[in-house]
Symmetry: C2
């Protein structure tokens, strides 16, 4: 295939993560190696930047800045959650033509892949030679086909460490603060919450109960689970997904304010941990408190998974390499190699197969009681957090004799 | 003074911290050096362990376990928040006599120092030779006389990093998630919340507004502050203390359930961030979301301050050294040496001067508008977090020309 000469543009979309700018670094550093990619532009606040013609010249940055993105959290270009109106696609194409942009990269989740797909379709329709490649990013880990999503391993490591620490806190002070509920992110799937299971080193370690939206919430069963752990240990640590749903598939808690619903129709979630504390206090008369680390969990880089950082870089790099080879209308995927030792390479999947799709936590990863995960999940998830958790000491219970 | 031969006991009390077990390690390793201290016992769940005669033999632990406590968060012995009834002090003394305990160390906040003081007073009264020394611990940093409290620097470092990351998140996605409120701990004082100011590197960095309980909350002023930042930047990051009070000194939010009030009369706090989001949504019609890292902030050791870890160890060590020298009825303090380079040694203060006392954030550390801190506070606080925050990259806004 002949080399397609022109500029490239790259954007970041959706919730920022610890590693989304590693993907940006991977793409930019790869693009530098290709003569046919003449200018390297960044969209300011994703697709909104294209509509407003707000770009940052990434090709003219100091090399140390681009390299530094690999240890910088959040979206360095600015992000957005903007649903492009049907009549805005023409304007987007016009801007791409005006800037002679021939390579289009969008780092994001399923909404973002849908946007990339539509832009590419219009370009084809108008006979404008454009190569569009999606770069996966979502802590939610809910994109189909790819083994997992960049961002997921780091939120998993952050929560494994955080829940282990908060669990040790409850183990120490559980004599008065009996129940702790920790709310994790996860809009429609429990992938993130499931990761908290990696905090557990011994049978009785936190988290004792894990609730995912894949299992409809049942208050009676929940109280029985809590009562059982509390009776045995004297305390209980619970992790729960912000997107928990009831038997009718309705969110257990979600904001009803119209300004809290975005243009994709997504409601702002949060508050389920507090709700579960109320259920415990009323149902069991036991003191319960909650933690909701919120956006800190998704974007914090101090506990980032080395594996995730490296894979996020790799998907950015491979997107550019594939586009230069002539590929278009694909998203880069992460492909886990068979074998006992974890190894991950990349693949490609048609954008139309991932756009707007959602991968839920499968049944074989959820335990029978619907309050924990299976060994199969642990086997899937453990390599993603990039190595063992920091090692802690534990006193031996040597009694004192008079 | 003649050497007092006998056993020692040490306990941990109140909310666990990242460094409370470093103090334990300091005390135990120091005690090993003193022949007159024959047995080294740990109270299981603080003073409750004495009442129940539940001790762990710390002198018989593997040396690597004691050393490992210096990198292990939470209270390794278990903690408590137990108000000793007047008629239980006699029982405590009885147990101390039974085990020939001559050295009593209690790691905790002001309630714990009060407990230590009362036990010592009763021992004197009964002519039982006992040396009682308090070891300071509280993330709240509200103990009087000591320059600061072990635990405070680490929660400060955790929050500086967390708020900076969450701030970068809002900077990136503030076009849709406009306002973020982050709730910090702090029962009656704003020391912890004030620490979030260290997240700020440039004028417009998060946090943009900081609310402490030392300044009564005024909804109208608050909305004006938020509106002003939002109008200028398009987003706003706010940090707020869980113990925020109104003009009558009442908590803005606190649990009204009786089971959420402990025996010291302390109500369970939390929920103020959500409340402020509601105020913003209703008053300004702007979308707001909240993070409440809760107990993770106080106990996490991944971001622990090296200075704090070392000082926590030192106060444990010095408590034992002073008791061996014959001192009793003191709490160890941290003393900041004069001079431009931060240096901290220890001192002693009578237990009665710290028991139940509370040090609030002084006026000279709070800005005029009551929504931020002064340079004097920054100068006080910065050395405590143990070195600069991790370095991040930032893209230069180089425009693209057609």
């Amino acid at each position: 295939m002949a080399k397609l000469k022109g500029n490239m543009v790259i954007g970041q979309s959706g919730g920022p993560t610890a590693v989304i700018s590693s993907s940006l670094a991977g793409a930019v550093q790869e693009a530098m190696k290709h003569d046919e990619i003449t200018g390297i532009y960044g969209m300011v606040h994703g697709i909104m930047g294209v509509l407003k013609e707000e770009f940052i010249d990434l090709g003219k940055q100091n090399a140390a800045v681009i390299e530094g993105l690999r240890r910088t959290p959040s979206a360095a270009l600015g992000s957005c959650r903007y649903k492009v109106a049907e009549d805005e696609y023409a304007k987007i194409l016009e801007v791409l033509q005006k800037y002679n942009i021939r390579y289009f990269f969008y780092i994001g989740g399923n909404d973002s892949q849908d946007t990339a797909k539509k832009i590419s379709a219009l370009a084809k329709d108008r006979n404008y030679d454009l190569r569009a490649i999606g770069i996966p990013k979502t802590i939610d880990n809910d994109l189909p086909i790819t083994d997992h999503c960049p961002g997921y391993g780091s939120v998993g490591r952050w929560l494994s460490i955080g829940v282990r620490d908060a669990g040790l806190d409850t183990e120490a002070i559980g004599v008065v603060d009996n129940i702790k509920v920790i709310e994790t992110m996860g809009r429609n799937t429990g992938w993130i919450t499931a990761m908290t299971a990696l905090a557990k080193e011994r049978e009785d370690d936190a988290p004792h109960l894990i609730y995912l939206p894949e299992t409809p919430f049942d208050e009676e069963k929940f109280l029985a689970h809590v009562d059982s752990v509390y009776s045995r240990l004297g305390y209980c640590v619970i992790t729960v997904c912000e997107g928990l749903v009831d038997k009718d598939g309705e969110y257990v808690t979600a904001s009803s304010r119209s300004l809290d619903t975005d243009k994709f129709g997504h409601k702002q979630l949060g508050g389920v941990a507090q709700y579960l504390c109320d259920v415990v206090a009323e149902g069991l008369k036991i003191k319960a408190r909650w933690d909701k680390p919120g956006t800190i969990q998704r974007v914090s880089i101090v506990c980032a998974s080395k594996t995730d950082l490296q894979e996020a870089y790799m998907v950015g790099q491979m997107a550019v390499r594939h586009a230069a080879e002539g590929k278009t209308d694909y998203m880069v995927t992460l492909v886990r190699e068979p074998g006992s030792k974890y190894k991950c390479t990349t693949g490609l999947v048609e954008l139309e197969k991932v756009a707007l799709g959602t991968k839920r936590v499968p049944d074989e990863y959820i335990n029978q009681a619907g309050n924990g995960v299976t060994d199969a999940f642990i086997e899937y998830a453990r390599p993603l957090i990039g190595g063992p958790l920091p090692e802690y000491a534990r006193l031996e219970k040597i009694p004192v004799k008079v």
